[in-house]
């Protein structure tokens, strides 16, 4: 019985580790990001929580998949100024709408909350000062 429990624990740990983002840490990669193009703004997406690590829904921006919500992961996209809607779907769909200006950087945190059968991932707009602290330890994740 102990062996079975131990094996189960190992499987859980393996699943947990492989489910997290494993690229370059934001704080190390920060200086290497290419400059944003003219007339574009940049949107960073990040997830700090490792709770519900198995729940990694697609992240859609105006209906287009731009990445997935990996625990401890981040990614970014550059887009023209305008109105945007972020969408994440698990057993429910959660959306965030926001505007993006030229040369503006916006941060979207992908939060996790309790659901009925599975956790919900919901996008939230975060101010720059808070986001820069939170995203520092995240690693480049799965974009598109």
């Amino acid at each position: 019985m102990k062996k079975v429990l131990g094996l189960l624990a190992l499987v859980c740990i393996a699943l947990f580790i492989t489910g997290c983002a494993s690229g370059t840490q934001f704080s190390s990669a920060q200086g290497t990001f290419p400059p944003v193009g003219q007339d574009l703004g940049r949107v960073f997406f990040y997830r700090t929580s490792i709770l519900g690590a198995a729940i990694q829904p697609d992240v859609k921006l105006n209906g287009e998949k731009v990445g997935s919500a990996k625990p401890k992961g981040f990614f970014y996209v550059d887009r023209p100024a305008g109105a945007y809607k972020v969408e994440t779907s698990t057993e429910v769909t959660r959306t965030l709408s926001f505007t993006l200006e030229k040369n503006q950087t916006r941060y979207v945190r992908l939060n996790i909350s309790m659901g009925f059968f599975a956790g919900h991932v919901y996008p939230e707009l975060v101010d720059t000062a808070t986001a820069e602290k939170e995203i520092a330890a995240c690693k480049s994740g799965d974009a598109k």
Partner: protein, 159 residues
């Protein structure tokens, strides 16, 4: 008798599931009203500093907080009041979904929020009198200036 109790358990479970699913799937909505927004074209732009923290309730269970000492710059007008935005905080209205918002003020009372993407108005549960100090309007700024480079394709960082 056994069948009846089994059916009762199944029925109760379904009711509990339905109730739970109702809560989990659709917690609350913001009621959005149509609105006419006229952008501020300059010349009469005003700004103020909020002297105290303010909590605005919308009846969604997710109040919106405004920071003390935050600076607000007028960006337009609606029939519900003047519309202000701030570089000092992210302003959003939250229910089941989240919407970026701008503050609507009429006669020093917060009347609600303008949603710039949806182009609608969300009314506060009740108007809130605010203490403000007039300020010179600061120019609109992006949160972080990024050096511009012409004709860069949209980059996406991948693993």
């Amino acid at each position: 008798m056994k069948l009846a109790s089994t059916l009762a358990i199944i029925g109760t479970s379904l009711v509990v599931w339905a109730a739970g699913a109702g809560c989990a799937f659709d917690i609350s909505h913001v009621t959005q009203l149509p609105v006419n927004f006229a952008p501020e074209t300059g010349g009469q732009e005003t700004a103020f500093i909020l002297l105290q923290e303010v909590t605005v309730k919308l009846g969604t269970g997710f109040p919106t907080h405004l920071k003390a000492a935050s600076r607000w710059r007028m960006v337009g007008r609606t029939e519900f009041g003047e519309v202000y935005t701030s570089n000092d905080q992210v302003l959003s209205v939250e229910a089941s979904n989240i919407y970026e918002a701008q503050l609507v003020v009429a006669d020093r009372n917060i009347t609600g929020f303008y949603l710039p993407v949806e182009k609608t108005f969300v009314r506060a549960s009740q108007p809130i009198r605010i203490s403000i100090q007039p300020a010179n309007p600061a120019p609109a700024q992006p949160s972080i200036p990024i050096p511009a480079q012409p004709s860069t394709p949209t980059p996406i960082l991948s693993t």
